[in-house]
């Protein structure tokens, strides 16, 4: 598990360095996600000689353990929002309506585009 966490952190660190060095428009952890994907592909090409936690499912279990409680990780930032609801004071209702309208349209447009194109391309 320690090895798996170290690998996740290494990917994040490398991602942050790349994102900042090249001023990429995506955050470091997203670059880190792409890097870990690369590591997983390489691992399965040549699995011999790697430390066992990388090949016996420990890495997968550690990662999925984090993802199983993804909601928890938003609580500290979310609690900050409660104290700053005052920034909405001036246009609260207009902003709330815009969020609802836009979120509904975005969900519907995305899901319908995805499923209709998937059907059309026979997937």
């Amino acid at each position: 598990m320690i090895l798996s966490l170290t690998l996740l952190l290494l990917c994040q660190l490398a991602g942050e360095i790349l994102a900042r060095t090249f001023a990429l428009p995506v955050p470091g952890p997203v670059v880190g996600m792409a890097l870990l994907l690369g590591v997983l592909i390489l691992r399965d090409r040549r699995p011999s000689g790697l430390p066992t936690p990388m090949t016996d499912g420990t890495l997968e279990r550690t990662g999925k353990g984090l993802l199983a409680h993804l909601s928890l990780l938003f609580v500290p930032a979310g609690a900050g929002v409660i104290g700053r609801l005052d920034v909405l004071a001036a246009h609260g209702l207009a902003l709330a309506l815009s969020l609802v309208v836009s979120t509904v349209f975005a969900l519907v447009a995305t899901v319908l585009t995805f499923s209709s194109v998937a059907k059309r391309t026979g997937r």
Partner: protein, 238 residues
């Protein structure tokens, strides 16, 4: 009395107390969510944050003090984002098969999210500086705040709007898409991640691993596309 006070002064300044409050609020909210079979309105993020907010208000604890403890949880967002590569890799065959529908949905969804949001706010008389902070609300907080700062808006307002959008999207996605009769969990997850970033992704993982995987992809891709589209959309709609 002075003894109690000394204990409180000690506790309120250690990370232990606020870390425990964060985890306890989440455990309670998650139990309720599980007991209601993951009902959308029992969203654990929503209920955990008002519980923590209430504790902070009652104890008059400044957010900065709370965050000293809660930062350990917050920090894990980074490694968790990296870990999205794991389900993505496991479902790679499912994902590569639908590259075309994914890219089409990304372009349409991202544009619709932006345009409907700016247009509605403009119709309701929201001034331009606030429009800048509102425009990137569907993408993950760090990117959204970066976009807003670059365009001269208020990143704090963006952070608030991003979190609210995430919770709203996580609550709306299931009843809305049930009503539309869409049963494809690839499409449903993708929509959740695109419209409601990480909080939508957390919701998608509650429903199915495939939905969560597609939500994670949509979140990453939309962060990239929105960074390109926001300046264009604002220039066009002004």
């Amino acid at each position: 009395m002075t003894g109690d006070f000394a204990l409180w002064v000690f506790l309120s300044r250690t990370p232990l107390l606020w870390l425990t409050v964060t985890l306890t609020a989440y455990v309670v909210a998650d139990r309720v969510s599980a007991a209601t079979r993951r009902h959308p309105l029992a969203n654990p993020v929503l209920h955990a944050i008002w519980m923590v907010g209430l504790v902070l208000m009652v104890t008059r604890t400044p957010y900065a003090v709370y965050f000293e403890g809660a930062q350990f949880v917050h920090f894990l967002l980074g490694p968790a984002t990296v870990a999205l590569a794991i389900p993505l890799y496991e479902h790679r065959k499912t994902v590569t098969r639908v590259l075309v529908p994914m890219l089409a949905a990304l372009l349409v969804g991202s544009t619709v999210a932006l345009v409907t949001c700016i247009a509605t706010a403009k119709l309701l008389g929201v001034p331009d500086p606030i429009l800048i902070a509102l425009a990137p609300k569907s993408v993950t907080a760090s990117v959204a705040m970066g976009i807003t700062s670059a365009l001269g808006g208020d990143p704090t307002l963006t952070a608030v709007l991003v979190i609210l959008t995430g919770i709203l999207g996580a609550i709306l996605v299931t009843p809305l898409l049930d009503r539309l009769g869409v049963k494809d969990y690839r499409a449903r997850g993708f929509a959740a991640g695109l419209a409601a970033h990480g909080i939508g992704t957390a919701r998608a993982f509650q429903v199915s691993e495939v939905a969560g995987t597609f939500a994670g992809i949509a979140m990453g891709l939309n962060a990239f596309l929105t960074a390109v589209l926001v300046p264009l959309a604002l220039a066009f709609l002004r």
